[in-house]
């Protein structure tokens, strides 16, 4: 296992455990009140989802062009995490939206493109699972398209008129909110990194197991 795994996991877990206290002490937002506190985890998860999608896309590109198994392991770990964290984003967002906008869902550019990106990585996992042998390479092509979506999802909210807040909200956060927000972002990025490492380790062990089975058959 990577020598950074334990320190990253410890720090990530500690930050993740401490985050709710910081969030509770953060100031209330003027118009939305308590429900705005979902923002700290929701936006941080959004960034974590982008990280996971990039990891998957870059791993896929490396796998397609260098055929290294380690790249493929990164790709599948990234895709699974994109689906999990994407699910968090897609559930916490509507929970907040119900109070803030009055509706659970809106087909605006940000929400639609996020859902589409999430579905692409779901398709990646389905292809790997049910596509038969050789589907790792095919899935890698899918992940590349998924990664190409990330800038689109990020900028969608600035280019189109959407209900979703623009990216300019972040630089203009009130001072009391900035601390908890960036703390949560770092916490989630570290948590994502740690889980990615764990997941790639699982994939590596699986491949070693396959090799052992082959050796057992030969002897």
């Amino acid at each position: 296992m990577n020598k950074f795994f334990v320190p990253i996991t410890v720090i990530a877990a500690a930050m993740f455990a401490y985050a709710p206290f910081m969030i509770l002490n953060a100031p209330y937002e003027a118009t939305m009140g308590l429900v705005q506190k979902i923002f700290y985890f929701h936006a941080a998860c959004g960034m974590a989802m982008f990280l996971a999608a990039f990891v998957s896309g870059i791993g896929s590109a490396m796998f397609l062009f260098t055929k290294k198994p380690s790249a493929d392991r990164m790709a599948v770990a990234g895709a699974e995490l994109t689906v999990i964290i994407g699910l968090i984003v897609l559930v916490t967002g509507p929970l907040w939206a119900r109070k803030a906008w009055g509706v659970w869902w809106q087909w605006d550019a940000r929400l639609t493109s996020t859902l589409v990106m999430w579905m692409i990585f779901n398709a990646y996992l389905l292809l790997r699972r049910y596509g038969g042998p050789g589907s790792e390479k095919l899935a890698a092509a899918v992940a590349l398209f998924g990664m190409a979506n990330v800038p689109f999802v990020y900028w969608s909210v600035n280019v189109w008129r959407t209900l979703h807040p623009k990216t300019s909200v972040i630089p203009s956060l009130q001072p009391g909110m900035r601390g908890p927000f960036w703390f949560c972002v770092v916490a989630f990025l570290l948590v994502t990194t740690a889980i990615l490492m764990l997941r790639t380790e699982l994939e590596k062990r699986r491949q070693q197991l396959d090799e052992l089975y082959l050796m057992a058959e030969e002897s």
């Binding site: 308590l34 506190k37 929970l95 119900r98 764990l198 699982l202």
Partner: protein
Amino acid sequence: MKRIQALIIALLLVAGPAFAAQEQPKRPVQQDEFVPVSGPTNPQETIPAQTLVGIAYGFIWVLLFGYVWSVRTRLGRVEREMESVSRRIAPGK
């Protein structure tokens, strides 16, 4: 005579609108289908914020811990299988 006529006409003029105003008593419409109550029209008032925040954070914790737990379980299973397969190979060699 003329004053009495004027008085009767004045009374009629006042009475007319008074009657007209009374003319529509509210008759209850017979319900033959379920009509939902039009409750608080502002949807933002129906679910308390604490519930939403609680569900959100609860969901995050459950999902993340659930996923980490599942990865670790699978890892343990694979490692145990690896041990058993290597034991099969080792004496055979």
